[in-house]
Symmetry: C2
Subunit: 199 residues, 2 copies
DNA sequence: GTCAATGTAGACAGATCGGTCTCCTTCGTT
DNA sequence: AACGAAGGAGACCGATCTGTCTACATTGAC
């Protein structure tokens, strides 16, 4: 079990830094100090190793984001905390989740572009659970189902957009900017709901 | 000159579909019907070919987006037309710019993750020029420099976020949703400016 | 000590990688 | 016809790819 985790951790680091297809399994074993036979004892193929890295990152990233958001006093604070967490990630103030090379799930989807590919589906699944997390916080603020859905998706869109801008353009303030927009969208709906109550 | 364009076009199609490192130059020459010697006559290396595909896509995508937005009667219509264009692209109603496999510049940045890599910088440059296009339309609406910058970046963030959601999650309505948020942000600033005038 | 589980180093195999180079062909210009 | 530019087929090279397998070592349980 120890060796398996080590392989996944090292492979993730290399794939995240250089891309899945740019790194061969010989590099993974060289840097992990694990024998090739052991690698193939644990994983039937390179692709299985890739899938394991996606799952590893999913758990790592999700638990980190939850840790940064779930102690917030209310739904709005949680959403803003999400963008604060992104800001720390983009600016590499956070050592728990690896130096920033963009979003692993976006990157892996680029290399496994077919929507039906199992690895791509793993990435989609991660995105859906992030949307679910956001939706949970938004529904602490608003009870109107339509508002919850619309706003959750907007926040998720801003999150993904900011991540791309941070990575592709090197915009270190992308999260701060996206946070301001998210806050604006939230406040606009407070106003809407206040109006509805008054009428 | 004819052979060069053919190589770039075919290489782009393959790299966009499967990823740069997943496709070797032998596949490119096999599918383009161009001899290997000819390829190396035109490009000193695979990386130079990759760079040429990024430039090719930059021109293709930018001219397409401009074509879809510059005839709009005003800045707001142009921004909304941008999202309509994205919608057609995600839903493959547009044959001029290749079937949808996410954003080539995001995908290539994933494989050339180092911000200092020339190919990565080409992708960043494309994103900056898209931001410039958006900024041009927004400045047709608002003269306040701060509003132009803030709103342009918000629109660009929504554009990137929607693209990721369309690709990773297969969300075919991502552009429509992002458009609604962009419209909301625009209208909120009309209200702001109307208030300023009244005061 | 014995045995099974786990792991090691690395040879091996067929395939492909990016890039170099030989020999030849075609075409346009002089 | 001669020449140079452009291009073709594909052999060749050293390296690496993914995956298989041999011979051996270590460790923990019995």
């Amino acid at each position: 079990m120890e060796r398996r985790e080590q392989l996944v951790s090292v492979a993730f680091g290399l794939f995240y830094r250089y891309g899945v297809h740019a790194i061969g399994i010989n590099r993974v074993i060289a840097e992990s100090g694990v024998a090739k036979k052991t690698l193939y004892n644990h994983f039937p193929s390179k692709e299985a190793l890739v899938a394991a890295t996606v799952e590893y990152r999913d758990r790592q990233f999700s638990s980190w984001i939850e840790g940064r958001t779930q102690l917030a006093p209310d739904g709005q604070s949680a959403i803003l905390a999400l963008f604060d967490a992104l800001d720390d990630w983009f600016n590499e103030r956070e050592k728990l989740i690896h130096p920033f090379h963009g979003c692993y799930f976006i990157n892996v989807s680029a290399e496994f572009s077919d929507l039906n590919h199992p690895v791509h589906q793993q990435c989609a699944s991660h995105k859906r659970s992030m949307l679910g997390l956001i939706s949970g916080y938004i529904s602490q603020i608003f009870s109107d189902e339509k508002t919850v859905v619309t706003l959750s998706e907007a926040v998720a869109t801003l999150k993904e957009g900011a991540t791309v801008q941070a990575h592709v353009m090197g915009d270190l303030k992308a999260a701060v900017k996206a946070k301001a927009i998210a806050e604006e969208l939230l406040k606009a709906r407070f106003a809407d709901h206040a109006t509805a109550v008054l009428l």
